[in-house]
Symmetry: C2
Subunit: 96 residues, 2 copies
DNA sequence: TATCTATATTCAAATCTATCTATATTCTAC
DNA sequence: GTAGAATATAGATAGATTTGAATATAGATA
């Protein structure tokens, strides 16, 4: 359980990946336009997109010459809910 | 901005730190009891508690012989809100 | 078929992280 | 002041992560 979310947070724990996620949500869809807005090389972008996709935070569709990426907002909601649940755990009476 | 949250997510991106955060929320307060519930050594626990505290996710108070740790729930809320805000960005009309 | 474009993979390097052992620090209590 | 408990720091190490250069792949088109 924690292992699963630790893995998800790892994906969010990088400035460039957060920027990529924002750009995808704003409507960018292909690597060829993302690359102009990021301070990284094409192979590095490819690496990040793979991480984001494998985590289920985005998914991709081949469309002609391009691979289009889309954010899976449900996964973001799931992460949000996890944080809420942790935060709202009731404190037990502590033995100390 | 993204750099700030990338740093926060890094703190959440470790299974043991998530467990520590949960235990603190449940009412544990001192390292000496945390250590019995985690598969790590005392120096490693100390390292994680420092990371969590420096990120503002917890704070500590010296009380007699012990240092008590408490979770800063506002910081968790801040992280939750960040995810909501990202998720709810409106897509712009894409030029492609 | 040759070429071009978009994307992925391989590989190596530099850096960062989590962890332990050993040791130090800081209190408290005797 | 000595002893003991809780916690922190130093140093070392194994492993993970991020990155770019070079190269490969796959599809479209001339």
């Amino acid at each position: 359980m924690f292992e699963k979310y630790a893995r998800l947070f790892k994906v969010l724990a990088d400035e460039n990946r957060l920027k990529i996620i924002e750009l995808l949500i704003k409507g960018e869809t292909c690597g060829c336009t993302l690359i102009d807005k990021l301070p990284i090389s094409q192979p590095t972008l490819s690496y990040h997109l793979k991480m984001i996709s494998e985590a289920g935070i985005a998914y991709s569709k081949k469309e002609g010459n391009w691979i289009k990426y889309y954010i899976n907002k449900d996964k973001l909601t799931e992460i949000k809910v996890f944080i809420e649940q942790i935060r709202d755990i009731e404190a037990e009476q502590c033995s100390l």
